[in-house]
């Protein structure tokens, strides 16, 4: 127990947690939306995120950004990488829906079976990334794709410069431009998603299907389309989170999604699964609690703190912090 350490570094731990929490929250939105609509734990969502991290790096390679890229050029190339990442993740999410879930929904399979399909899809996606070298050589494309498929099981680092300048200080902690970018970008995305669900016609459709799939389809909501859009939005947000994650952590690998996915899902449950604002709150609470807990007990207890917190909160608030619902409260 290092109380003194936590007290001395409270702000830096807090901000660090906030930054990580932002990434959790963005990924958690994907889980929570799919859960709200389908009551399905989309286990493969973590791989959707993982594809985004790779897309970020590849996009930066493609436009030749490296450590010498600075200033406006750096901002523009990162923005480009984020767009590519979002498109990639969105695409993977749509593919996932088409291949792994829709056939099951048509047959009215039990929910646990959909979970198994999701687990299978998760294995397939992560291994496909881990085996991309072998796949490319089987197709004879190894020389064409070159470094994009080389050392597929290894860590892949962000090619751009990762030294960030301190913009201003709060209580002795220097807030870097990276922290600002991540939190601002994440909050912006969340507000957009939230407003989309609340204000647009499609958003209303999503809420309707979440409330009662049968009645909403009687009212003329195309539930297949709604489910598709839900997956797409989840994928887009995960893609954005992936770029921010790369800024924060700096490296990825084929199985990087797994732990982050588990944490993000925990965040979604913490806030009340199926509830968008709950996912945001859950993400931030989880990130900050983890960071402070790691300071208090040592970094190796980080995840233990997260899960113990989850169990405690569920004991006292069995439906999460804000309660569950995408449409309205469901029993």
């Amino acid at each position: 127990m290092q109380f003194q350490y936590v007290l001395d570094n409270f702000v830096s731990l807090f901000v660090g947690g906030l930054v990580f929490g932002a990434v959790y929250a963005l990924v958690a939105l994907g889980y929570t939306m799919v859960y709200g609509v389908l009551q399905l734990i989309n286990f493969a969502h973590s791989e959707v995120f993982m594809f985004g991290t790779f897309a970020t790096v590849w996009a930066l390679w493609l436009i030749g950004a490296d450590t010498s890229t600075m200033g406006v050029a750096l901002v523009l190339s990162l923005a480009f990488a984020m767009v590519v990442s979002m498109v990639t993740s969105g695409g993977v999410a749509l593919l996932l829906e088409r291949v792994a879930y829709r056939p099951l929904l048509k047959r009215g399979a039990p929910r646990l079976v959909a979970l198994i399909s999701a687990i299978g899809a998760s294995f397939v996606l992560s291994e496909a990334m881990g085996l991309r070298g072998a796949i490319a050589s089987a197709l004879g494309l190894e020389s064409v794709l070159g470094r994009y498929v080389a050392r597929s099981r290894e860590n892949l680092g962000l090619p751009t410069d990762r030294t960030f300048t301190v913009q201003f200080e709060i209580f002795g902690y220097g807030v870097t431009n990276r922290d600002i970018i991540i939190v601002v970008a994440a909050v912006l995305m969340m507000v957009l998603a939230d407003q989309f669900i609340r204000r647009t016609r499609t958003g209303r459709g999503i809420r309707a299907v979440a409330q009662d799939p049968e009645t909403s389809s009687l009212m003329g909501v195309n539930s297949t389309r709604v489910i598709q859009i839900t997956f797409l939005i989840g994928g887009l947000l995960a893609g954005a989170a992936a770029t921010l994650y790369m800024l924060q952590v700096g490296a990825t690998r084929y199985n990087a999604g797994f732990i982050l996915g588990v944490k993000a899902f925990t965040a979604a449950v913490l806030g009340g699964i199926g509830n968008l604002r709950g996912a945001l709150l859950g993400g931030f609470v989880l990130g900050i609690a983890e960071s402070l807990g790691a300071g208090l007990f040592g970094g190796e207890w980080r995840s233990v703190v997260a899960f113990v917190l989850l169990v405690l909160i569920l004991l006292f608030r069995p439906t999460g912090l804000l309660g569950e619902s995408l449409g309205k409260a469901r029993a």
Partner: protein, 409 residues
């Protein structure tokens, strides 16, 4: 009847009808024949590592060792089937119990004491059961999906605590765990198929019963014996009041509670019994490996366990057995494709979920429910011009569905 047949037709053969057909045949045979069949099957399982049959034995890896792994997975799947299949509680952290069983044995026999394995086993089982109750007591009150994530968290907490606690050996784990007591009686030769015809190979023998690091076959026999015992106990429990209570709780908790079933207590019992069986598997694993470390108890293993149960058909003990065999054996058999293993496994999971959602060997009740639903659906989607006629012949339709249900049951 013409209206009914048109509405009900075409009655295409259901997917996986072969497996179900075999089972239906088995059920119709007299009890003594069933008993004989089961005994013969068990005997064959005992002899399997000595026979080393050419197609099913694993090239490259020791067949006895693979069989031991398969037996442990079967044990775990049968235990998890109690929790997931019978009681309907989604448990994503089952590996936690497996780890607690293994580590209790490790601590008592090697790390902090030098108990013999046989003495540490009951203590390990007691500790795992207790951990099941301790986990279940607060968490079984939360709803299904939350339970999944809470148990997932439990599994991770167990693993991370093992990694971070010096007292439990931290990351390197615990080594030199003793073997169960040996009783060397006779030497049993293996068969050698390398020439195409089976030859008795006296240079390759297994001592009955001597537990050594080099020969996994006695460990396999021990595991198989425990599997059989657990299966027998499972059968008794499933057919008892307890089993029926689980089923009622799973189908509709409120209704069960209204009928006077103390659902919480039965759920807790399912958790404790599931943990108990997981503990047996963990203890076996520890003594066979002789060393254990947190790496053997990752979340991925939990997911493999769950896949075994769901693949096989949750709620059916034989389904769980088959699922476990698929999950544990196939990757070992096809080690040649080492790097493609997980990919192929993932694809297989998806295909099975899509084409055989009720599992390879679903419980009879699931099959019956599905047939009823199919009949109902075929009536609903029937040619609209026939609707009137179907309605007038409703009695016939009902009887038809009933008959279908009965000949399966």
């Amino acid at each position: 009847m013409s209206g009914t047949t048109t509405a009900g037709a075409p009655r295409a053969p259901r997917r996986g009808a072969l497996l179900d057909g075999v089972r239906a045949r088995l059920r119709k045979t007299p009890r003594w024949a069933q008993f004989l069949f089961m005994t013969a099957l068990a005997l064959l399982c005992y002899l399997l590592p000595l026979l080393e049959l050419p197609i099913i034995s694993t090239p490259g890896t020791d067949f006895g060792g693979v069989l031991f792994t398969v037996a442990v997975y079967v044990l775990v799947a049968v235990g998890l089937n109690i929790v997931v299949g019978y009681a309907g509680l989604l448990d994503l952290g089952y590996v936690g119990f497996y780890a607690i069983g293994a580590y209790t044995v490790g601590v008592l026999t090697s790390q902090h004491a030098t108990w013999p394995w046989l003495l540490s086993l009951p203590v390990a089982l007691g500790v795992t059961m207790l951990s099941g109750v301790l986990l279940g007591w607060p968490t079984l009150r939360v709803r299904g999906d939350y339970l999944a994530i809470v148990t997932l968290g439990f599994g991770e907490i167990v693993r991370l605590t093992l990694i971070n606690t010096e007292w439990l050996g931290a990351a390197p784990g615990i080594s030199s765990i003793p073997a169960p007591p040996s009783l060397p009686l006779i030497e049993l030769p293996h068969l050698d198929w390398s020439t195409g015809v089976p030859l008795v190979d006296f240079s390759d023998t297994t001592t009955f019963i001597q537990f050594t690091v080099t020969d996994p076959v006695p460990f396999y026999w021990l595991a198989l014996t425990l599997v059989i015992l657990v299966l027998l106990a499972d059968k008794r429990i499933k057919n008892s009041r307890v089993g029926r209570s689980w089923e009622a709780t799973r189908e509709d908790e409120d209704a069960a509670e209204l009928m006077g079933v103390p659902t919480f207590r039965f759920k807790l019992l399912a958790f404790a019994l599931g943990a108990f069986v997981g503990g047996i598997a963990g203890s076996l694993f520890a003594t066979r490996q002789t060393f254990i470390n947190p790496e053997s108890f990752t979340l991925l293993i939990s997911i493999l366990f769950l896949s075994a149960v769901v693949l096989g058909g949750q709620g059916n003990r034989w389904g769980a057995v088959i699922g476990a065999i698929v999950v544990a054996y196939l990757p070992e058999r096809f080690r040649g494709f080492e790097q493609w293993r997980v990919l192929v496994f993932g694809i297989a999971l998806m295909l099975l979920a899509i084409y055989r959602p009720q599992g390879l060997l679903p419980p009879r009740r699931t099959i019956r429910a599905q047939q009823m639903r199919e009949t109902e659906e075929s009536l609903e989607t029937a040619d609209p011009t026939l609707v009137g006629r179907v309605a007038t012949e409703d009695g016939d339709v009902g009887r038809d569905a009933q008959e279908k249900g009965e000949d399966r049951g």
